[in-house]
């Protein structure tokens, strides 16, 4: 089987969701009213805007993730060929990891790993 | 401290208080304008140290409005009741004891809500249980609600 079969899976998934929602549209009851279209906030109308600029301290984590995830991508090829490369690969990955862990420790010490 | 000693002490601080006999718990009737100073004194002086306000109750007697303060000391475990009254039933106002006991905040809001007693210097005197636009104060004796209150 070739990789184009992925398209089949894609289409099948779209079909599954699309069909079910369309089907539900036809058989499900529908009664529109303004109260129902309110966003749910425990029965109280929402105060102020929802899409506000607000502080979720996870931005730092996203950056850290970016750094580490790119590193992970580099490790994958190494992992595959590690058995053939042997000792040289091991020493190189130790150096690589040393730098990586150093980065993590730096972030740790700088309190970047604490959700403020 | 026994009741007698507390009585003496209070009379020394504030001679114009009235202490009726025969109450199960020592009750002190204080003029409204002197209440705050007495309460502050009672809390802060080390031999009484009434540091815990158990309960604050507003009472509508039909002719007058009163507020009862049940105070106790966690150190000596003696309890007294302070009572203060006003003849002004329409707009009764007392000094808030919030700055002495923070627990008074909700008690006073409740008294304001249900009896219409205003407390001066209260940080946030709003209705507690009823809507902001509710008319009247239900716990008053002359409150009438022909729909919800059934006379029997």
């Amino acid at each position: 089987m070739d990789h184009q079969a992925l398209i089949v899976f894609f289409i099948a998934a779209v079909f599954l969701v699309g069909f079910a929602i369309t089907f539900a549209h036809f058989i499900a009851p529908s009664s529109k009213n303004a109260q129902k279209a309110e966003a749910y906030e425990c029965g109280i109308p929402t105060t102020g805007l929802t899409w506000l600029q607000f502080n979720v301290g996870y931005y730092l984590f996203a950056i850290l993730f970016l750094i580490f995830d790119v590193e992970t991508v580099f490790i994958f090829p190494w992992a595959v060929v590690f058995k053939q490369v042997g000792m040289v690969g091991f020493i190189e990955i130790i150096i690589f990891f040393f730098i990586l862990i150093l980065g993590l420790l730096y972030a740790w010490k700088k309190h970047a790993l604490i959700w403020e | 401290m026994t009741d007698e000693q507390i009585k003496e002490k209070i009379l020394k601080i504030l001679p114009e208080v009235e202490i009726p006999e025969g109450k199960p718990t020592l009750t002190v009737i204080v003029p409204p304008d002197k209440l705050f100073t007495l309460a502050k004194e009672l809390k802060e002086s080390p031999d009484t140290s009434f540091d815990y306000l158990i309960c604050l109750t507003g009472v509508d007697y039909g002719k007058s409005m009163s507020v009862f303060y049940h105070i106790t000391s966690t150190k000596f475990n003696h309890t007294i009741i302070l009572k203060t009254s006003t003849q002004n039933r329409e707009t009764p106002a007392f000094d808030s004891v919030y700055s002495i006991w923070k627990t008074a905040e909700y008690h006073e809001r409740e008294a304001y809500d249900l009896l219409g007693i205003t407390f001066n210097n209260h940080p946030d005197l709003r209705r507690m249980f009823l809507d902001e636009d509710w008319v009247g104060h239900p716990l008053r004796k002359d409150y009438s609600d022909p729909i919800n209150i059934v006379e029997r």
């Binding site: 089987m1 539900a24 862990i101 | -």
Partner: protein, 364 residues
């Protein structure tokens, strides 16, 4: 070629279908028909598995909580989830006035597509997989991490404050735990020397990797279990839909069948990570073989591979359900602390340890 296959090896079966299709019609149409067959088979499998997992979870949690669980619809309540499905189909689809309509509608598509795409690469039994990539592990990781987009879109587009917070949490959470999932899989890739899932399974012919790789493999398995539970947004890591804080989190505003897709995707993602764990750590469809015990190996061979695979996956899913119904929920900062201060350093050291073991040939 005559139609003959055994449940021990599906290769001949799939090849027979392939050959007879190509013999009957031109190659282009044969390919189309083949694809349609695969699509239908997987759709059916997907739906049935989802229904079964919902039922299983309800029954398992009920038994842990001294309850009976569903027992009214059908024998032992077995048709309960089908009744639920019908109910969800019949429920009104509510639109929120200020919601971002396009994104609101797209979100359920994304979560389902992602889980469906990832399932394509799972080897269910010998010869029974849709696709066998040479970068299988990598592919599954890449695809499954896209699910967060659906969750984020759902939360953001709902124009609901609970949903928004839920989506933000989900973003931070999935993004972080992605690392641990990757690194714990790398640990095994080092041992296996390949990212192709069929090769990985074949490599466990004499012994499963979790036993082969000593302590590093066990640590990697535990880390993978924790991280993947977090990645599928399941308790105790269900912060995105923390019902005591955010009512229902990112899918608060979804009703009827739209909600059902989020629900389904959660279970399918759980199956997905459980099957990856089974494949990578527990030998997939490979029966339990111990090097040198020939008689024992033969006895194990009698159990068909498909049973081995599903048995292992369901066992791992059972463990994940066990987690969910035992532990209280974590808080967002604890969640991130767990990842960045515990799992990640442990994982990095663990990879090195595994590399050392492979280098020295200490593994079995």
């Amino acid at each position: 070629m005559a139609f003959s296959f055994s449940i021990y090896d599906f290769t001949s079966f799939t090849q027979w279908i392939d050959k007879s299709l190509y013999a009957a019609m031109p190659p282009f149409w044969a390919l189309i028909v083949e694809m349609v067959i695969i699509g239908i088979v997987f759709l059916g499998f997907y739906a049935l598995l989802g229904l079964f997992l919902v039922y299983a979870e309800r029954k398992i949690c009920a038994f842990m909580q001294c309850r009976v669980g569903p027992n009214r619809v059908g024998p032992f309540g077995f048709i309960q989830t089908i009744a639920d499905l019908i109910k969800l189909l019949l429920k009104e689809l509510i639109f929120i006035k200020n919601a971002d309509k396009i994104l609101f509608n797209v979100a359920p598509f994304i979560v389902i597509i992602v889980s469906f795409l990832a399932i394509a690469a799972i080897p269910f039994a010998k010869g029974l997989h849709a696709m066998d990539f040479n970068i299988g592990v990598f592919y599954i990781m890449a695809v499954s991490s896209m699910g967060v987009i659906g969750v984020l879109l759902a939360g953001w587009s709902s124009n609901n404050k609970y949903s928004l917070i839920g989506a933000m949490r989900s973003g931070a959470q999935i993004v972080s735990y992605e690392l641990s999932v990757g690194l714990s899989l790398i640990t095994i890739v080092v041992l296996a020397g390949s990212m192709q899932l069929s090769t990985i399974v074949e490599g466990q012919r004499d012994l499963w990797f979790i036993f082969k790789g000593h302590i590093p493999a066990i640590i990697a398995f535990i880390v993978f279990l924790i991280a993947s539970t977090a990645e599928t947004n399941r308790g105790p890591f269900d912060l995105a839909e923390a019902e005591s804080e955010l009512t229902a989190g990112f899918h608060t505003e979804y009703s009827g069948i739209r909600f059902a897709f989020f629900f389904l995707a959660e279970y399918m993602n759980m199956f997905l990570v459980a099957s990856i764990a089974a494949t990578v750590f527990w030998g997939g469809w490979m029966p339990l073989h111990i090097n040198g015990f020939t008689g024992f190996n033969h006895v194990m061979d009698f159990i068909p591979p498909i049973f081995w695979f599903f048995g292992k996956s369901f066992f791992i899913m059972w463990i994940m359900m066990w987690f969910k119904w035992t532990f209280p929920r974590l808080r967002i900062d604890q969640l991130l602390t767990l990842e960045w201060k515990y799992l990640l350093p442990i994982n990095l050291v663990n990879v090195l340890l595994m590399a050392l073991i492979v280098l020295m040939g200490w593994h079995f």
